[in-house]
Each structure stands twice: as structure tokens, then as C-alpha cells.
């Protein structure tokens, strides 16, 4: 597939992902210039979704590496299937094979457990490597990632060097739980993905929950937009907005009044203190949404 801005726009539209021109431009640049893309932003704004959507658009495989504290090379790159190797060694020894042959058998490719990073390097298909929440991993892991991202090759001592036939498209996401290293940021193109504005969110709701009344779609979008402006413990994500729209539809609520909101707001806000805060500002929020 040739990478042009139009192709990307169409691809995003087909994957039903609504976003701004700026984001499309950045995606286009990252793909054309084959640079990894670092996406930061508040939780729930659609960062992980972009990775999935890109894979769909490029008709490629999505390989996902979910980072967590304590993630190390072994879990991310490859591990030997020790138990199976032991069995093989035992079987070979019983058959009386020589030491060399035993070793050769034991370190065959079939005993290698490929983890996401190695899969991304060795896959013959076009792929999107989504490294999710890289801020949860530690600095050593970042340094290791950096090395990998520059060369896209891995040397497995027993098997040799594995080089990528196609460089995968690399997308990293971060929730800004900590500052990422300068070296990693320098390597990537940067995208700040914030929550959409009321109008864009209305488009999203219209696309994903079309059965809902159009006026109500707009009110929902505006309400959540106003809600995000409050100082909440956790601002509602786009997924929660959609859940709310579906809930209103399921309960056949026709209008966004105080009663309706009170009944369903816990679909959007998951913290008690946030619910209380929203409740105290309810009339203002409804006013902003429905004017």
C-alpha cells in the first residue's frame, strides 16, 4: 500500500477512527519517514487505539507489547523453552547421540519462545509494533529498546543474528507517569493526543452509536467536554462517553435532564469524589450541554 495522506485518511475513516488533520499529518510523516512514533496524552484519549487502527489501515499484523514495571529483555524479546529442551536432551541422551548433536537439537528454533519484539523483527508480513505504556517500564528497558529500534536486529547466541525483513511500524504510548529518556524521545516523532473537542466527540458518538437521537448525541458530547474541564480525579475517556451514549439509548432516555444524568453518570465517572463534584455542578453542566 502506498503511503499518502489520502490513503491514511481513508484508512482511518474505514477503521472508524475520527481524529484531527494534525494527527493525520503526524501519522503520515511517521510512516513515510519510517520513524517510531511516541504518543503521549491523558489516559483514554485513544493512544492505544491508534496502533490498532494503523495495523488495520496498513493491512498488517498488530504486535502488542504491554509494558509493566520489571519488564526485562527476556519477557520482551525471547526465552528458551527450558522444560522442552530438557526433555529433548534426555531423549537424545537415551538414544546415545553425541554431545554436539544433542546441543544442536536442543537449540533448535522450535524451542525458542518468541516474545513480541522478536516476533516483530522476524515476521515476514508488514506489522505494527505497539509498545504500550512504555512509561511503566524502567530506564534499562528503554535503553535496550533504543538499541533495538536503531538496528532492528537481534543476535541470539545459539542461532545467529535475526534481521528484520520489513521494518515494523513502531508506535510507543505513554501516560506520562514518568519522564522518558531524552535519547528515546530524540529517536521518535512526537504526538500529543488530547481529548477531542465537543464537536469531534459528537462525530465519534454519531459514528459509533448512530441509533441515538442526534440532538442527544450532541448534548452527550458537550456534557462530557464540560465535565473534563472540572478538576476530576480521572477525566472520562472516549470509551466512557460511548458507554454513556449506549446506556442512554438502552434506557430509552430522550432528554438530558438532571434525573437522567444522575441515574447514569456512574457509567462515565468511576470515582466517588468525581461523582460528588459533578453532582454539585450538575445544573451548570447540563446548561453548558444543552444550550
Amino acid at each position: 500500500m502506498e503511503i499518502t495522506r489520502e490513503a491514511i485518511r481513508e484508512g482511518l475513516a474505514r477503521a472508524r477512527y475520527i481524529t484531527t488533520d494534525a494527527v493525520e499529518t503526524v501519522l503520515f510523516l511517521a510512516l513515510t519517514l519510517e520513524k517510531p512514533l511516541l504518543i503521549e496524552g491523558p489516559a483514554g484519549a485513544g493512544k492505544t487505539e491508534i496502533g490498532k487502527v494503523l495495523a488495520e489501515t496498513l493491512h498488517g499484523e498488530l504486535i502488542r507489547l504491554q509494558c509493566y514495571e520489571g519488564l526485562d529483555e527476556a519477557k520482551a524479546l525471547y526465552e528458551w523453552n527450558y522444560q522442552k529442551q530438557l526433555l529433548r536432551i534426555q531423549a537424545d541422551r537415551d538414544q546415545g547421540l553425541s554431545g554436539e548433536e544433542v546441543t544442536q537439537h536442543a537449540f533448535a528454533r522450535e524451542y525458542l519462545l518468541e516474545r513480541p519484539l522478536l516476533r516483530a523483527i522476524s515476521t515476514p508480513r508488514r506489522s505494527v509494533l505497539l509498545i504500550d505504556e512504555v512509561d511503566k517500564a524502567d530506564e534499562e528497558f528503554e535503553a535496550f529498546l533504543l538499541e533495538l529500534l536503531s538496528d532492528f536486529q537481534v543476535t541470539i547466541p545459539e542461532l545467529g543474528t535475526v534481521r528484520a525483513t520489513h521494518r515494523p511500524v513502531v508506535v510507543l504510548t505513554s501516560n506520562r507517569a514518568r519522564e522518558l529518556s531524552e535519547a528515546l524521545k530524540r529517536r521518535c516523532f512526537y504526538l500529543w493526543l488530547d481529548f477531542p473537542g465537543a464537536e469531534k466527540e459528537r462525530e465519534i458518538v454519531a459514528l459509533k452509536v448512530p441509533e441515538l437521537d442526534a440532538r442527544l448525541q450532541e448534548h452527550v458530547a458537550r456534557f462530557v467536554n464540560a465535565l473534563r474541564k472540572l478538576d476530576l480525579h480521572k477525566a472520562p475517556s472516549i470509551a466512557e462517553t460511548l458507554d454513556w451514549a449506549r446506556a442512554l439509548r438502552a434506557l430509552q432516555i430522550r432528554e438530558l435532564n438532571a434525573a437522567a444524568v444522575r441515574q447514569t453518570l456512574n457509567v462515565v465517572l468511576k470515582h466517588e469524589e468525581d461523582l460528588r463534584k459533578a453532582d454539585s455542578k450538575l445544573s451548570a453542566l447540563i446548561g453548558a450541554a444543552t444550550k
Partner: protein
Amino acid sequence: MKDRLLGFFDALRQAGLSPSVGETLDAMAAVQAAGVERPLLREALATALVKDQADRAAFDAVFEHYFALPATGGARRQQAPREGDGVGRLGPGMGRGQQPEGRSDARERAEPQRPTPAQQPRAADALARRKALADKPFRDMDAMEVDALDALVAELGRRVRVRFARRARRAKRGRLDVRRTIRRALSRGGVPLELQWKRRRPGKNDLLALVDLSYSAATAAEFLLALLAPARRYFRRVHLLAYVDRPCPVSLEGGHVVPHEPFDLNARSDFGAVLRRLDERWPRGLGRNTLLLVLGDARNNRRPPRADLLAKLHRNTRRVVWLNPEPRQRWNSGDSVMDTYARHVDALLTASSPRLLATALSELARLAL
């Protein structure tokens, strides 16, 4: 265009962003791929050069100034000499009749020679002001500038945070972490082939920050506490004490220092009395793992300095670091007894402007962790 971009990169550097050479090359490649339509140009440059959303506002301001539309009055552009050639060479993408041609025409008509840096437009002033504020001595700041310090906290605090983060590393040796060793061993059939060591918890040390809230040092003290906020998680316990003539526990809430006890800000500075009270409270010192950070100008109103108590504190504490918010020339003038105290501290740093204070804090990271 290339010269234009080089000038733009310089302008960004002056505004406080520091794009690396690699990033500038990426930016040029991005511009080549994206084209020179203004919104595309903006995003192409931003994605390669702005790696932290906090810098985006500064980037936008510089971009507005640098790639200003010709119709905007009063906005002058820093332009390199052979600008016309660069523009012409860009190719078919420039066919859109707007800015490129318009710009070169305006340039030929209006400005035969290069504008001097003195003709910077108003848009860049805000950035220049912030930069100047970072280097301005605390004692020379007026009330408005003190309020503007909040913006600097984020920018300078980031560097402090990164420095602290870098120091908190994992141990390669030390105490054996049995749990993790066994967990690793599971995939090896129960044989502990790799020993796992306990991570050196970054919060091994305590921090006691003792800041002078007398009139002369109060601004610096508040700024220091604000900068310390992100570094707190690298210490096990953090105590914040403020003093004028006695130590008082405080906390930083909403950007203001809030004392936990009744506190007389108008008392006369007396660090000797402060030391006496600290000694009463902690007669055996603060502990092997505590770092004592003092911010003060060592002005004692000619009261007894009690350097012996500071010496005692120093012996029983991991490190004592003193930050002086006055410029070096003023130390030991008048009632300042800086030299008397200096003998008993591990590090004495100048912290007379926001930038110097941030640098001093980065030094703290090196000494403390």
C-alpha cells in the same frame, strides 16, 4: 527554505527548546515530506522538534513569529540572504498561490537589508521575559515577577526531576531477593541460574529541608519548595521546615507555604536559635541517612551563630548542603556569618536566581542519592 529553517531552529533554541542535530535533520526531512502549507509545516516541525507538550506553547509562539503571514502588521521576520533561491527550488508543492510568492515579494519591497535582532516583534517578548526571569536575582524581583515564577517551576523543575530520576538506579549487587530469584528459577526447572538482587530503593534517604522565610529569602524559599515537590518521591521521608528565628513545620499548598504552627514572619532572623531548637529536638543528630538542605543567607542580626551546633549536626547527618540566595559578593557582608557556617557543610552553593537554584538542586541529586 533550508536557511529559513536553520534560523527557525536557532530561534527555538533561544526560546528554551533544545533540538538536537538529529532532530533538526528529522525536521527538515519532515518538511520535505509534508510540504510548506502552513498547518502541515507546523505539524511537521512540531512532531520532530517538540518532544514535550509543555514546550508546545513556546514552539507555537516562535512559529507564529517566524513564519508569520505577510498580512500581519508589525511582525518582522528574521530572514537569511539568499532566501529567494531556496524558495524557488522547492518544486511543484509551492504552486499554491499564497504565502511563498507573497513573502518574497514583500521582502524585496520592504526590507532591502537584514533586520537587526533589536527589531524582535512583541510576540517573542514573553519568551525572552521568561528567560530573563530565570536569571534574575530573587531579591530584585517585584510582586508580578514573583507570581510569574510559577511558570518557571515546571520548566526548571523538569531538569531537576530528570537528574534525580537518573540517580535512582537498580543494584547489580547487594541483598539477595529470594522471591524474584525463585520466580526466575521457575522457568529454569527450579534451578536458580540467575540470582536476582534487591533493587536499591531510591527512597533510602530522608530529606530535611530548612528554608529561611525572612523577607530577604522568602521568594527563593518558596521557589525551592516548589522545585522540590517532584523530587520528593526519591526520598523516604521529607520534612519541610521554615524558619526565621525558630524552625516550624510547613507544607506547600497551592503554591504557598503554609505553616503548621503559629509562625512570626516578622521576627528577626536568628539561625543560632534555630540550631538550638533543632538540637533540642534531635539531640543525636538527624541520622546517617538524612540529608539536610538549608536555604538561607546566614544573616543573624549579630546574634550568636552557634556554629558548634551546626558542626554537631554535620557529624551526625549524611550530608549538609547549604544554598545561599544571595549573590556571592554579598556573602559575609554586614551581619552575614556565611564563612562561619561554611566550615561545617559539605556543599555551599549559590542560589540567587531561579536558574542557579535549579542547578544547585541538580547538584543535590548527585550528592544525595
